[in-house]
């Protein structure tokens, strides 16, 4: 199979991937099928193990954050990554739902997130007499500013700084791995192409023509 055929195989040519896969099935596949225990499960699609499929199903039926916590996460995520001229906000990209899933998938995040949200609400109750989501926009930004800059944070704010670092990291991960975020960051790969090296204008820009 040469390059052109490879490209075709992936649907960039005239034939579809499905047709290609069908046409390329090994002639002797029956022998393999006759072998005992090929799949082990009826919903095994070859890429996921049955236990992985079951686990994802189970995680999707569970709920970790309550409505108030989800509301707080949504406000925070959109403060961290707001809509701008280039792209939508964190919540436009589905970040809160991603965070709900990932803490179920990675239980180590659960206590820092739940405890951090609680810490934030108590701070706001003491300061403004309201939970974070019920505080005014100005108050929310004031609160966030106190925990968003690790080197500037005042004594006593450390738990908030740790929580906000985690929240910022999860928000960025969720946003930039979404469809909106990948377009925003300008990742151009994950597609059929031919790598021929750094483009000449870029080589020139960095003085790397002769390396």
């Amino acid at each position: 199979m040469n390059r052109r055929e490879s490209l075709k195989a992936l649907g960039l040519g005239t034939i579809s991937v499905a047709a290609f896969l069908e046409s390329c099935k090994p002639g002797n596949e029956k022998l393999a099928e006759n072998s005992t225990g090929n799949t082990g499960s009826s919903d095994y699609d070859g890429t996921r193990l049955p236990k992985e499929i079951e686990r994802d199903k189970k995680l999707n039926t569970e709920k970790f954050f309550d409505a108030h916590e989800m509301a707080t996460i949504t406000v925070l995520a959109d403060i961290i990554i707001p809509k701008d001229d280039h792209s939508g906000s964190a919540s436009d990209a589905g970040v809160p739902a991603f965070i709900e899933f990932i803490v179920k998938d990675m239980p180590d995040h659960q206590t820092p997130m739940r405890g951090g949200l609680r810490w934030l609400d108590l701070q706001c109750l003491n300061r403004y007499g309201k939970a974070f989501v019920d505080a005014s926009n100005t108050q929310q930004i004031e609160m966030v500013t106190d925990i968003a800059y690790p080197l500037k944070a005042k004594p006593g704010m450390e738990p908030g700084v740790s929580f906000f670092n985690l929240m910022r990291n999860l928000t960025a991960s969720g946003f930039f791995s979404s469809k909106i975020g990948i377009q925003d960051i300008g990742y151009m790969g994950n597609t059929v192409n031919k790598w021929t090296g750094v483009p000449p204008d870029v080589l020139k820009q960095y003085g790397m023509e002769n390396v």
Binding site: M1, N2, R3, S6, A9, L10, P26, N28, L31, A32, N34, T36, G37, N38, G40, Y44, G46, T47, L49, E52, L59, I80, P82, D84, F98, I102, D105, V144, A148, P150, L151, K152, R168, N169, A172, S173, S177, K179, G181, I182, D184, I185, G186, Y187, M188, G189, N190, T191, N193, K194, W195, T196, G197, V198, P199, D201, V202, Y206, M208, V211
Partner: protein
């Protein structure tokens, strides 16, 4: 299960191969093409990358955005079924030592996700005793293996460049991928630091493989680790096992966990017993010979669990060496980022899924305070964003002036932070050393007398410690990385120190474990002869990394392939003697 019985098959195969990874796959390929009737047993499911790869999926197609899980340690799209822990299949360690055992239960084994970095052992890697007296020589030399390396190159395909470095023998190469921008910075910095860097060597078809119509040429998605739908890289599944099945001479039984190699009164191998994971029934199959390619750990385990009156110490173990001399490559790594690349231009630089550039060991055996060397693998650039993207920006965005030329407080939020993520995209790079660990008799695996897995098979217990040689080597790696990164003009953290053994990964973590059923001329201190045939049982062979006497600073796969091909050709030449 109140009705345990063993189902015996009437068919006698010419050869039974246990395992379908690089070693088992190559043996199956050669023997099936020569017309032998071969039965291959694989402990996991059938797997064909063409149908089952996650290649070209986007991170948002994974609910965890590509992050790893307990059952897929290297990410949600990774090609390997398995990992450091398998449910119901434990292993243990002894005397508070550490070993981590990565197992892939699937057709093709660990070759479905590996890094495709494909290196020949050099002359001194086979015969290194003269260097410092610390290692035993192999019973074979580079010249014995060279023709098989050449054939593996032609048959499977490898890119690289002819460099005439004695310790890095050249092969028959396809063109290598060009360096990415970050890698050019690495090359420039390394040159200033006096560290040689050459084009990478990997088993990816950067051009169509001459004479092969079944495998496609690489289309540069950089996702070899997911396994390749067009077979553009080497996996045992796509390049060996499926072609072997297609000869009509090899039958694969998947989900077959082998329990024991069976022998007769004279001690000759007669077949194997296995448990079928689907029906949980016990089976026995018979063959004129048995070939183990189950991995260094599993092959040793199988032999030690195959005790009989003729082989009271375990099969092929009259010497007592089976399980001993296990050694993994050393590994230590570092990374940083290039402020020169902030706000860089976007283009697709996925490249190949193996290394673009490679740092061979060029320091010979200078008085360094540790015996042997290491190579360096490099990478970096504008990768696909996934779980972990942007992590730790609060440690980066305060270190350089913003677009307005002013320094700012690290961390932050809002439109300015969003811009920082864009600004910092693609500036990162990493480097990792992979070095020689000395094979030592007191690093070993053995059967844990107290523990069985869920199939009732006694499990392996590991006893493995690094010593000062490896720790000092890791220190040298860290110092070298610091030097390179300094010369690159990079921003990076201080080096790993003594509190982490200089970043030295725990034994097993590099997944290069070899040496558990070593070959040698003397049956008193080796289990196999120079063709990987058991001294104690001439119709038993081992074709994975277990026969290695001493690893070089090279990844094991290319040598597994070459040695398995050599053993298979030996088997064909001995057919009469072996009554096959």
């Amino acid at each position: 299960m109140n009705d345990v019985q063993i189902k015996k098959s009437a068919t006698q195969y010419d050869a039974i191969i246990v395992g379908s990874g690089a070693g088992g796959g190559m043996a199956g390929y050669v023997l099936a093409h020569a017309g032998l009737k071969v039965l291959m047993l694989e402990a996991g499911p059938y797997f064909d990358p063409k149908q089952s790869s996650s290649q070209l999926r986007w991170p948002y197609e994974s609910p965890r955005r590509g992050a790893g899980t307990h059952s897929r340690n290297f990410g949600d799209f990774d090609g390997a079924f398995g990992g450091w822990e398998l449910d119901g299949e434990p292993y243990t360690t002894k005397d508070k030592t550490e070993f981590y055992w990565f197992r892939s239960r699937m057709m093709g084994g660990r070759t479905n996700h590996w890094g495709r970095i494909s290196l020949r052992f050099g002359p001194d890697d086979f015969k290194g005793h003269h260097i410092d007296g610390l290692t035993d020589d192999w019973p074979i030399s580079y010249d014995d293996v060279k023709p098989f390396y050449d054939n593996v190159d032609r048959m499977i395909g490898i890119y690289g460049t002819v460099e005439n470095i004695p310790s890095e023998p050249d092969g028959i190469f396809l063109p290598p991928p060009k360096p990415r921008l970050n890698e050019l910075f690495i090359m420039k910095g390394a040159a200033k630091a006096g560290v040689k860097v050459i084009p990478g060597r990997g088993s990816v078809l950067t051009e169509a493989l001459p004479g092969n119509k079944d495998r496609g040429a690489c289309f540069f998605c950089g996702q070899c680790g997911r396994s390749c739908k067009i077979y553009g890289d080497f996996s045992s599944s796509s390049a060996l096992v499926i072609p072997a099945i297609n000869t009509g001479n090899l039958k694969l039984i998947s989900n077959a966990m082998v329990r024991e190699v069976l022998t007769d009164k004279e001690g000759q191998a007669t077949g194997v017993s296995y448990i079928n994971k689907d029906d949980m029934q016990e089976y026995q199959v018979s063959g004129k010979m048995v070939i183990l390619g189950a991995s260094a750990g599993e092959s040793a385990r199988l032999l030690l669990n195959s005790k009989s009156p003729a082989h009271p110490n375990g099969l092929a173990n009259s010497s007592g060496v089976v399980g001993k001399y296990i050694h993994d490559s050393t590994g230590s790594s570092a990374g940083g980022w290039l402020p020169q690349l902030l706000d860089r231009k976007r283009y697709n630089e996925d490249g190949v899924g193996s290394i673009h550039i490679y740092g061979p060991w060029m320091n010979g055996n200078k008085k360094l305070g540790f015996p042997r060397g290491y190579h360096i693998e490099f990478g970096g650039g504008m990768g696909m964003p996934e779980y972990g993207f942007g992590w730790g920006i609060e440690g980066m965005n305060g270190k350089v002036p913003g677009r307005d030329g002013k320094m700012k407080d690290p961390g932050g939020f809002g439109a300015e932070l969003k811009n920082d993520y864009r600004r910092f995209y693609g500036v990162g790079f990493g480097m990792a050393g992979r070095g020689v660990a000395i094979a030592r008799a007191d690093n070993y695996c053995e059967i844990d007398p107290n523990v069985v897995d869920k199939f009732g098979i006694p499990v392996l217990r590991f006893h493995y410690k690094w010593n000062d040689d490896e720790i000092k080597q890791a220190k040298h790696m860290q110092e070298t990385f610091q030097h390179i990164m300094h010369e690159m003009g990079a921003i990076y953290d201080p080096m790993e120190g003594p509190e982490t053994n200089y970043g030295l990964e725990a034994p097993g973590r590099i997944i290069h474990e070899v040496g558990t059923v070593r070959m040698g001329d003397d049956p008193k201190n080796s289990a196999l002869n120079k063709y990987s045939q058991a001294h104690d049982c001439n119709n038993l062979f081992v074709v994975d990394a277990a026969p290695f006497v001493q690893q070089g600073d090279k990844n094991a796969t290319w040598t597994i392939l070459a040695l398995s091909m050599r053993t298979s050709e030996y088997i064909l030449s001995q057919r009469k003697k072996l009554n096959v």
